[in-house]
Amino acid sequence: MRLRLLLAALAGLACLAAASDPAERLPDPAQEAQAREIFRDVRCLVCQNESIDDSEADLAHDLRQIVREQVKAGKSAPEIKRFLTDRYGEFVLLTPRFSIGNLALWGVPFLVVIAGVTLLFVRLRNRSLDVELTPLEAERLRRLDEDETP
């Protein structure tokens, strides 16, 4: 949070949802909504970690204009994003691509889950013999469940 504040202060501006400015809006509400949807995935390149939907920077304003014009001309979201990445590189999109270079990025979270669950199952299989309860142990576990002081 402190970072954001430093950035905001550095740019010398209060961060407002700049894209909602009535002076920039498209007349057709459906097209405007589509443009806003795209804004949220486009990075303001001179700001740090801000989408052009939020930023008041001049560059963000220009990018919004480009996107709005293309939406107005009837281009689809993937076409507009391709246009932007051709110009500015992958950096401009806030959603990283599903590509080989980003394999670890997208894969690791789910790999951790799979590895964890596999480990759990292996452990459970190896030791499944001993889960029959003796009466003494059943009593102790009952007390644990009741949350009494052991």
Partner: protein, 654 residues
């Protein structure tokens, strides 16, 4: 003079920390109680010395002593008192001093409150805590001393960033740092236990109160920060997946996992190695957070706050301390005893699933934060990882965790009964479905994810209540007996219920706010108005005002619903005289848990003002939920069974 005394006290604190390490280790090796006691005395004295240094810096800020470089750079004599005080920890140097204060404070707390720990473990914990104190104090004294004088003091200071001049943000860093650094005790206890070679249920019980305290403080600290971002940054967002936010969120996730795995270790003696691993990881992530925020590696624009050498120093500290901890772990962990066994359907399994999902979530946040750096270093290609990535990875993991959550506390240890749990949860299931259907019927526009989210929130809240109902045998025994059981419930149980309940409240608020918020913006002349949701916002007047250190336009705005006035708010657009930055003070109108959020923007041609209005339904719950969770932690902390004495009695009996 006072600043010099403070600087001297800081150096003294460093010397005392070194003495703390040496005396504690010597005492442990020679089994000498006086030496160990002297080590503890040194811990206490180090804390007092840092407190003196901290007070000296605070004094310099309060009296605006601009001959101190840090004060000249970060304060201004026209600033209100609260923000002059808060300026103490507003800069890099000051916040590192706050970090040291918390670190030595926790060291003193272990030395003072840990009397019931076994002697060897206590001495090694105090020694490790002293080692951490030494490292960070050395950094503060030699690389980031906040009490340096200027040869030619300026007449006026350069002022604190105006966005920082806010009550919530004034108290946000102390909570956050206390939470971050609270994890150091857990780290020290883990290192000490690895050296002593004894990790068991009793150890786990000693770790829990410290982890709980740190977790509660961190929860409150993060919430304060989110609330500040919500009303100060002026576009109604409260979480941006910003690297600095992520830096505080990772230790929180790990600490949450630790609290759950420590229960398994304490009650069933299982997961011992994993609990120790998490204990080491929690403070490692705290230090990583400090490094990410303070070094500027993640943001080039951040560079004015620090020079890169400091970042390198922090990285070395991070690498050496956590590296030592994990090396020790790798060396000693194989000797740890394997704990009790359990069936696939059991409380243990549920808690392991909790840990798997929390670990995966942490991995997601870590990757999302660092991957752009790694990728750029390896291939030279720059990519961005923004909020959409986290929605696609973090959110599904969390949803899985939250769906499983209510079942966990209802499962029996070792061998649970799945069918029994489902039978006990059917009421909660009905409530969840009911709340989803209610949202479907009542809220416009209809959005699938919003409806599912509301059902999930209902599921969590109903699940937490079900758990209490089960414990008290509600509706199965007499009301009197239920009441007797309710009063007799241990505080730890209440703590868990509150934490889970708070999570449900948060989910409801977050889902409602993000799904159904309404936004409107118009350039309004004075006397004009705009509609947002069911409300009409009219700009009655705009007056120029002058504050202590800023000039502002203050709007007078009336909010009406169906012609009936319900609120008057006065949002401001401030321009700070020093530095010329502009900030906006939001006008908030509370309608039950919902907010109408008004921002006064810039003056446009023709005398109009840009006015933005948001209808943020149930936004209060976003902040109320985590507060309930933090309170749950504190309630749990007051549980008699968590007091350290219990462990000692056990040890003596053994």
């Amino acid at each position: 003079m006072i600043a010099e005394a403070g600087a001297f006290a800081l150096i003294l604190a460093l010397a005392l920390s070194i003495a703390q390490v040496a005396l504690s280790i010597a005492g442990r090796v020679r089994r000498s109680a006086p030496l160990v006691g002297a080590g503890e005395g040194a811990a206490l004295a180090a804390f007092l010395a840092v407190a003196v240094a901290f007070a000296a810096l605070m004094h310099a800020f309060i009296v605006s002593d601009f001959s101190v470089a840090n004060v000249a750079q970060n304060s201004h004599s026209a600033k209100p008192l609260l923000y002059r005080v808060a300026g103490t920890w507003g800069s890099h140097e000051g916040s590192m001093l706050l970090w040291c204060l918390a670190l030595t404070g926790f060291g003193a707390a272990v030395a003072g409150l840990g009397r019931d720990l076994p002697r060897g473990l206590r001495a090694m914990t105090v020694a490790t805590q002293g080692l951490l104190g030494t490292v960070f104090l050395a950094y503060t004294v030699f690389a980031s001393n906040p009490l340096m004088r200027l040869l030619t003091p300026p007449v006026e200071g350069r002022s604190l960033n105006p966005l920082l001049q806010d009550p919530a943000l004034a108290v946000h860093p102390p909570f956050l740092y206390a939470g971050y650094v609270g994890m150091s005790v857990v780290f020290s206890l883990a290192v000490a236990a690895l050296i002593e070679g004894r990790i068991d249920a009793a150890w786990s019980r000693w770790v829990r109160p410290w982890a709980l305290a740190a977790w509660s403080l961190l929860t409150i600290g993060i919430t304060l920060g989110a609330f500040w971002a919500y009303y100060e940054l002026g576009w109604g967002g409260w979480w941006f997946w910003d690297p600095v936010e992520n830096a505080s969120f990772m230790p929180w996730l790990i600490a949450t996992a630790l609290l759950h795995s420590a229960v398994v270790t304490e009650k069933r003696g299982a997961l011992t190695g994993w609990t120790v691993f998490l204990s080491l990881a929690a403070f490692t992530f705290s230090m990583l957070g400090a490094f990410l925020v303070r070094s500027g590696v993640l943001t080039s624009v951040h560079a004015f706050a620090v020079d890169p050498t400091r970042g390198v120093l922090l990285l070395i500290i991070l690498g050496v301390t956590s590296g030592l901890g994990f090396t020790l772990f790798a060396w000693r962990a194989p000797n740890l005893t394997q704990g009790g066994m359990f069936a696939p359907i059991s409380r243990e399994s549920a808690l392991v699933m909790n840990n798997i999902l929390l670990a995966a979530s942490t991995a997601t946040v870590l990757l999302g934060t660092l991957y752009p750096l790694i990728r750029e270093a390896m291939t030279g290609e720059a990519i961005s990882v923004g909020p959409p990535y986290f929605s696609l990875t973090f959110t599904p993991l969390m949803v899985a965790l939250l769906v499983l959550l209510p079942a966990g506390p209802l499962l029996a240890w070792k061998r649970g009964d799945a069918r029994g749990v489902i039978q006990r949860l059917w009421v909660a299931l009905l409530i969840a479905a009911g709340s989803g259907l209610l949202a479907l019927a009542l809220v416009q526009p209809k959005k699938v994810f919003g409806i599912l989210g509301v059902a999930l929130g209902g599921w969590l809240i109903a699940g937490a209540v079900t758990e209490i109902a089960e414990r008290t045998r509600a509706f199965r025994v007499s009301a009197r007996e239920t009441w007797r059981r309710l009063v007799g419930l241990p505080r730890g149980a209440w703590g868990m219920t509150f934490a889970h309940l708070g999570l449900g409240v948060f989910v409801l608020g977050a889902v409602f706010e993000t799904t159904w918020k309404v936004e409107a913006a118009e350039a309004l002349p004075v006397g004009g108005g705009l509609n947002v949701g069911a409300y009409h916002v009219s700009l009655d007047a705009v007056n120029p005002i002058s504050g202590p250190n800023y000039d502002a336009d203050r709007g007078l705005i009336t909010i009406t619903r169906a012609g009936q006035p319900i609120c008057k708010v006065e949002p401001e657009r401030r321009t700070y005289t020093t530095g010329g930055q502009t900030t906006s003070e939001v006008g908030l109108c509370y309608r039950g848990p919902s907010h109408i959020y008004i921002v006064l923007g810039e003056r446009r041609d023709g005398g109009t003002y840009l006015v933005r209005a948001y209808w943020n339904p149930w936004a209060s719950l976003i902040f109320l939920g985590p507060v309930i969770m933090g309170l749950g932690g504190l309630i749990s902390l007051s549980d008699r069974r968590l007091r350290l004495g219990v462990g000692r009695r056990k040890e003596q009996a053994a």
